[in-house]
């Protein structure tokens, strides 16, 4: 052989730990950046990443991947798919790019934290590729939506969102600062790569690719599956770190970090992916309900991953499974009601046919969400005409998830779902509100980390949002007419119910 195999030299390239002499190990790997819980360099040298790739292989593979994705985009650009796309799909794209493009770029900084402050050579090399991957994901997910900026100002939110205090952005930032940008290297490995990426986003990109193909958006489908292949690789950074922590008496700490991240990822998914799958995706394109997707792909698979690696199911597992019947329906209802507060047009997704599908997938939906949330709105709209958003003064935001506290309307014992309930906590004289016992538990794990933050609702009460009106709030969200969300169907869906009314009369 004229060229060596990877296995002949791979170990040498990751054998890069040395004993510092001119500075201390603690100075070189300070706890706030490193997060190694006092485990010294030698302990980390057994770190063994399951997915091995060399620099040479990386640049070749990634060049080929980009060549594929960019050429498909170029070939399809003139077809102007988006001009004929169904409104629900366009909303999903706007939501997706606005929520994630800038965060992907930020994830490269978090990967670099592992590449600098991780104590294992293999981890540092894998995170070097991870940092490049996230650099890619940021750039490619800006390049694609930029093509659409002339179509709608809402696509501008792909770069604008994270610079604003729009409520969903605040929620996303709070989450990702907690598990990535504001976490030490070990925290990033466990919370971002092991919990969030292995458990959620890796599968989400698979799902998105499939949904895009269903919707006929070949360009985006290609993009999502290509991103997923990167995700599948760098998501594996965290697993070996979990093993090292467990082997060195830090299982409880590892479990705690993973438990926090899984719940936080769940609340994000219920806000973003849940409404997209069950309400925005055109009915005839729906493969699985959000609940089915989460049960089979996310929770089912991840449960096995957790147990295989030597961790336990999070203590709140059953609470999370039960939440599949409530949280995302509530998030959708809230977002549609206050659609001016987001940067995408919100499809209501409640035609009779869609409701029949919801009832089939979520038995009991009609007698709760249907009868107690949507029917009264429909009746009012039919009587007085559709009214635009009003300031939702009574919404209580969770001080952890930063999203509205939800419950199942019309819920009584025996029905699926759960009641609307605040889980309050008084800490150092301040009263905090939480949407679940898990959110409250997360706060209690490290109150100093969370106690100083003000939710958007707290800011309103504190007089930081002026004037305290709908206009003032939208201004605070940096949303103006032309970019704020409308009913994605322009209320044309009411016609079906008007017909029903006429026939009944």
């Amino acid at each position: 052989m004229a060229l060596l195999d990877r296995a002949d030299w791979y170990d040498i390239a990751r054998d890069t730990n040395w004993t510092p002499k001119y500075v201390t190990e603690d100075a070189l790997f300070p706890e706030e950046q490193s997060g190694t819980l006092g485990l010294p360099l030698e302990v980390w040298e057994s770190y063994d990443e399951p997915y091995k790739v060399t620099y040479r292989e990386y640049v070749r593979t990634q060049r080929e991947k980009d060549a594929g994705v960019y050429s498909v985009k170029a070939a399809l650009q003139r077809a102007n798919f988006l001009d004929q796309a169904e409104p629900g799909w366009v909303s999903i794209l706007k939501l997706h790019y606005g929520a994630f493009a800038t965060l992907e770029a930020m994830a490269s900084s978090a990967e670099s934290r592992m590449a600098r402050f991780g104590k294992a050579g293999g981890l540092r090399n894998m995170a070097t590729f991870g940092s490049l991957d996230e650099n890619r994901h940021g750039q490619i997910q800006l390049y694609f939506p930029h093509e659409h900026v002339h179509r709608s100002r809402q696509f501008d939110w792909a770069t604008k969102s994270m610079h604003t205090n729009e409520w969903a952005v605040v929620a996303a930032r709070h989450l990702f600062d907690d598990i990535m940008a504001g976490r030490d290297a070990v925290g990033v490995a466990l919370m971002l790569t092991f919990a969030f990426e292995t458990g959620f986003s890796n599968l989400q990109f698979l799902g998105l690719a499939a949904d895009a193909a269903q919707a006929g958006d070949i360009s985006f489908s290609n993009l999502a599956s290509s991103i997923q292949t990167d995700e599948a690789r760098h998501a594996q950074i965290g697993g070996p770190a979990v093993k090292i922590l467990i082997a060195n008496g830090k299982k409880a700490e590892a479990q705690r970090l993973v438990d926090i991240a899984i719940w936080r990822a769940w609340t994000l998914f219920a806000t973003v992916t849940g409404p997209s799958m069950d309400y925005y995706t055109p009915l005839d394109r729906r493969e699985k309900s959000f609940k089915e997707f989460m049960q089979e792909w996310v929770f089912g698979q991840f449960e096995r991953t957790l147990l295989d690696i030597g961790l336990e199911r999070p203590w709140y597992w059953d609470t999370m499974l039960a939440d599949l019947d409530t949280r995302h329906h509530g998030m959708h209802a809230g977002i549609w009601t206050f659609h001016k507060s987001v940067w995408w047009d919100v499809p209501p997704g409640i035609s009779r046919a869609e409701r029949a599908w919801l009832e089939e997938k979520y038995p009991g939906w009609e007698e709760t969400w249907g009868a107690h949330f949507w029917d009264p709105i429909i009746a009012r709209f039919l009587k007085d005409g559709p009214v635009d958003t009003v300031l939702p003064s009574m919404v209580q935001l969770c001080n952890m998830a930063q999203v509205p506290i939800t419950g199942t309307p019309g819920w009584t014992p025996g029905k699926t779902g759960r009641p609307l309930q605040d889980f309050p906590l008084e800490h150092e004289g301040r009263l905090y509100h939480f949407g679940s016992e898990v959110d409250r538990w997360i706060f209690q794990q490290d109150p100093d980390r969370y106690k100083d933050h003000l939710s958007v609702a707290d800011r309103m009460v504190a007089g930081m949002i002026q004037p305290p009106t709908l206009e003032g709030l939208l201004d605070y969200f940096s949303l103006q007419e032309g970019e704020w969300g409308e009913d994605a169907l322009g209320h044309s869906w009411l016609e079906e119910y008007r017909q029903e009314q006429v026939q009944a009369a």
Partner: protein, 330 residues
């Protein structure tokens, strides 16, 4: 008030680029205005001002004496994007792979002199540790610099350093196959930690790695330590190698040196950009003067160990000085 104004109309590009005269390049579309945490000096993260990393960023990013510029306006002169980087480096790695392949075919290593074979595990293959410290230090820049356009440059620089690490690891294994008892793959860590030739660079890089102020980190790494290392470990080692009958070393180094030039291009641009505020130039000069002696000692210790290369240290030092002089910093 928002509601009194006209509805916003779609634009031709991102709103933050729309006011400019030029059409934005692909580079600008995908690289600019992405670092949201750099905007809020009081609380870089949404969690509040008092978490450990908030304090870290307030101190080392926002508290840096290198300041007073809108760093998002910085542009990489090469306008390098991710996809361009991979095209560039895939090409370079195909070239390197060809070199490895051809030289192996010709049983190149078997023809090296015994004296040179004894030198390589002392002065060449341990450089994987040196370049790994550059990889680590560049990754620190990725997270601490104040704009997404600077962050991009540092991201590719970190990857370039892994490229250097990889070449040395590959050659270590290849040489070990022919010279299993010469210390290839076993002697490097000891050399890095104990050999006098390396202690200068080791001390320099350990200290660079804990220079946490973003500005100082950039100056110490990109203007002083990395240039010193590149001149000594790429250029001067290659020159020595050519005189010792090892031309492969130089061929690899020449390809790696292209990455070096890219690093100097953006580093130069960043110094000029920062220097538009004159106080920043004073700060940068101060750091250069502070770090240069350590780097010169490192060059000296390493180059003195290079066989039959009495001019190596002087040449390397002059090259570093020349780079700094081109920036009006020395």
């Amino acid at each position: 008030m928002s509601t009194e104004s006209e509805p916003l109309k779609p634009l031709r590009t991102w709103s933050h680029l729309a006011g400019r005269r030029r059409r934005p390049s692909e580079y600008e579309i995908v690289s600019t205005n992405l670092m949201y945490d750099a905007k809020n000096a009081e609380s870089p993260f949404e969690l509040g001002p008092n978490i450990p990393l908030s304090k870290w960023f307030k101190k080392y990013r926002h508290g840096s004496p290198l300041s007073g510029r809108d760093w998002e306006e910085f542009r990489d002169p090469d306008e390098l994007t991710y996809r361009a980087y991979n095209i560039l480096q895939d090409g370079q790695e195909t070239y390197i792979e060809g070199l490895f392949d051809q030289h192996n075919e010709l049983q190149y290593d078997a023809g090296l002199t015994a004296a040179w074979v004894a030198t390589l595990p002392r002065l060449y293959t341990p450089a994987r540790y040196a370049y790994h410290t550059v990889q680590m230090a560049s990754h620190y820049l990725v997270q601490i610099v104040p704009s997404s356009t600077i962050r991009n440059c540092a991201t590719y620089q970190a990857a370039d350093a892994l490229r250097c690490v990889s070449h040395r690891a590959y050659r270590t294994a290849e040489l070990k196959q022919i010279y299993p008892d010469s210390g290839f793959g076993t002697a490097e860590r000891t050399a890095w930690e104990n050999d006098t030739a390396w202690q200068g660079f080791r001390e320099l890089m350990e200290k660079v790695l804990v220079a946490y102020d973003w500005g100082e980190s950039f100056v110490a790494l990109n203007l002083v330590a990395k240039p010193a290392m590149d001149e000594a470990l790429l250029r001067q080692l290659a020159a020595t190698g050519r005189r010792q009958g090892d031309s492969l070393l130089g061929l690899i180094a020449d390809s790696e040196y292209r990455d070096v030039q890219r690093s100097r291009t953006w580093s130069t641009a960043l110094v000029r950009f920062a220097g538009e505020r004159p106080e920043n130039l004073v700060v940068i000069r101060g750091w250069v003067e502070q770090w240069l002696p350590l780097a010169e000692r490192a060059i000296d210790a390493y180059c003195r160990a290079l066989p039959d290369s009495p001019q190596a240290a002087t040449t390397a030092t002059q090259a570093v000085h020349g780079f700094l002089q081109s920036l009006d910093l020395h």
